[in-house]
């Protein structure tokens, strides 16, 4: 753990990413005690009020301005981050676990298991993800749990395909043959020899996916299929603010910035994490 921190400290980009993530997570966790205005209550006399820097210190003012029904944007951003982060991380972890296991199974077992799984992936790839998401949410109804499930469903195939390709080359490696030669069970080979060697690619996919899923979650909300109003969500804010982009830039810019900043910090941290878990680059430092 000490090594983890010193190594992180030495990497500038990783450190920036980690600090940003910590700030985002901390702020979203602390939302209830920050004494923010109610993110769901509008004030029709204060519609589309512009941001004021002094607003940070004046009670009742709106530092980042208000939206078209007079709701405080800062409060909605912070409260929305809770939902977005929860939804995106759960979906990516869920999709990652399922996709990695199925990818290993398909790549290592080959044969019928492989063919069935890869057909499934092909079929799913042929259907636009957004359409799939729309269909599933429409069928199951938009709820927090269903949004997570849908996002995980669009995510697992990306892990599965990349992990499978890795496994195909790994299983020809001599250490896997050597595991056979000592009589190791298939399960042992898959989890002790293959899995640790695909964690790095899984992590890389995970970072890319986290970014993609945050955007897709926003897109679902944008289309009105994410978490339902009045619960704040970044995508929803983007959708609502878009109409006023020429007259009230803040209504769409701040949620957009929040998405970009989160995705960026996740990527920076993910890059460093990948290097850290690669024994080769670790000792090179």
């Amino acid at each position: 753990m000490k090594h983890f921190l010193t190594d992180l400290y030495r990497s500038k980009a990783g450190l920036v990413g980690a600090v940003l993530i910590m700030v985002i997570v901390l702020v979203s966790l602390l939302a209830p005690v920050l004494d923010l205005p109610d993110p769901t209550r509008g004030d029709l006399r204060a519609r589309l009020v512009g941001p004021t820097w002094t607003g940070l210190f004046t009670p009742g003012a709106h530092p980042l301005g208000t939206d078209e029904v007079g709701r405080d944007i800062l409060s909605r951003l912070i409260n929305g981050s809770r939902i977005t982060l929860l939804v995106a991380t759960t979906a990516v972890v869920l999709g990652g676990i399922v996709g990695t296991i199925l990818g290993i199974l398909a790549g290592y077992k080959g044969g019928l298991v492989d063919r069935i799984l890869m057909r499934l992936v092909d079929i799913q790839l042929a259907v636009p993800l957004m359409l799939l998401a729309l269909l599933v949410v429409a069928a199951l109804g938009p709820s927090l749990r269903n949004v997570v499930l849908v996002l995980a469903l669009t995510s697992w195939i990306r892990y599965a395909r990349i992990i499978r390709a890795q496994v195909l080359s790994l299983r020809e490696r001599e250490f896997v043959q050597s595991a056979h030669a000592i009589g190791a069970s298939t399960l042992r080979i898959m989890f002790l020899h293959i899995l640790p060697n695909v964690l790095t690619p899984a992590l890389v996919v995970g970072t890319l996916e986290l970014a993609r899923v945050i955007i897709m979650d926003s897109a679902l909300s944008f289309l009105g299929l994410g978490v339902q109003p009045p619960t704040p969500s970044w995508g929803r804010m983007l959708a609502d603010g878009r109409v006023y982009i020429s007259s009230a830039w803040w209504a769409v810019t701040f949620p957009g910035l929040a998405i970009v900043l989160t995705v960026l910090s996740v990527n920076l941290f993910g890059d460093w994490l990948r290097d850290y878990f690669d024994p080769k680059t670790r000792s090179a430092k």
Partner: protein, 302 residues
């Protein structure tokens, strides 16, 4: 009466390819090994020599049932292995092991080498806890490595050290037979002799039998009691080592002998007798002839 050999391989066949490609074109069939038969006695070293692609590794993998043959028989200590399921095969995995050609890809890059060497002992439930650590430390010492290396990852080691780690893993279960697939080819010349000595020491201490695979005859002379020469998936000559060197019969064996590097740089190497593989593909129906006791050669054009 001659005692039954430890390993008895008969008429082993393995081909790759065949069938049709995605576009419907027939894929060529490669007979990687074709009618290969040989025996290895307990404590003996049999050399298996041939150029790249002649099927040596395929023989090694087929013997250990890692990539089973299409047909033929592999008997180990009197038991037919080709008909065993994975569970029935497991006890035999304790008694026969393999050391791989490429020491770099033979180690799991994500597993500490101590754990890697310990794995066979864990899989077979031989040792656990501190007894396991002690045993692994012993194995490290046995192959000439400092036991403190146990907690390191493979990338911290040189090729020679890696091969020692592979050897430690292979001998962990005290096998009777080891397939060593070109174990020194990938190593620096200066390291090769050390590893060869290690093989010999281990054989003296543990009574190991080896199938020692090599692509030329230079090292084989010091290590092997008998040598089998392979060409295009077939054994073309098999004989005690002295016979191979003093009285080679097959033209391919002769060309391999002529290719051995001469240690003295002033002495010019004799020209390699011309040997065109394509004209010397062993005819399918050719049989082995015994030219002297224990010295067999495949029928060939003179």
């Amino acid at each position: 009466m001659i005692p039954a050999p430890l390993l008895d391989v008969q008429n082993l066949m393995r081909s790759f390819g065949g069938g049709k490609s995605l576009l419907g074109r027939p894929r060529p069939v490669i007979n990687a090994i074709n009618d290969v038969s040989f025996q290895v006695a307990a404590g003996e070293t049999l050399g298996l020599v041939g150029e790249s692609g002649s099927g040596k590794s395929t023989v090694g993998r087929a013997v250990l049932q890692l990539d089973p043959a299409d047909s033929g028989s592999v008997r180990f200590a009197g038991t037919e292995l080709t008909i065993l399921g994975p569970q029935q095969m497991k006890p035999f995995r304790r008694r026969m092991q393999m050391i791989f050609q490429d020491p770099y890809s033979a180690l799991n890059p994500r597993m500490k080498v101590g754990r890697f060497v310990a794995e066979p002992l864990v899989v077979h439930g031989v040792a656990g806890g501190s007894a396991l650590t002690d045993r692994v430390a012993d194995l490290f010492r046995l192959v000439g490595l400092d036991p403190s290396f146990m907690t390191r990852y493979p990338h911290e080691f040189s090729g020679g050290q890696r091969q020692r780690i592979n050897i430690a893993r292979a001998i962990a279960l005290e096998p009777a037979f080891i397939v060593a697939d070109e174990p020194i080819t990938a190593l620096d010349v200066s390291i090769q002799a050390q590893i060869i000595n290690l093989f010999q020491d281990l054989q003296d201490q543990m009574g190991l039998a080896y199938l020692f695979i090599a692509h030329d005859l230079s090292m084989v002379r010091y290590l092997c009691q008998r040598v089998a020469v392979m060409l295009r998936g077939r054994i073309v000559e098999i004989a005690p080592t002295e016979n191979i060197f003093s009285d080679p019969q097959h033209p391919y064996t002769r060309s391999l002998l002529a290719a051995i590097p001469v240690p003295d740089p002033d002495r010019k190497r004799p020209d390699r007798p011309p040997f065109a593989v394509s004209e010397n593909i062993p005819p399918r129906e050719a049989g082995m002839i015994e030219v002297s006791p224990g010295h067999f050669v495949l029928e060939h054009k003179k």
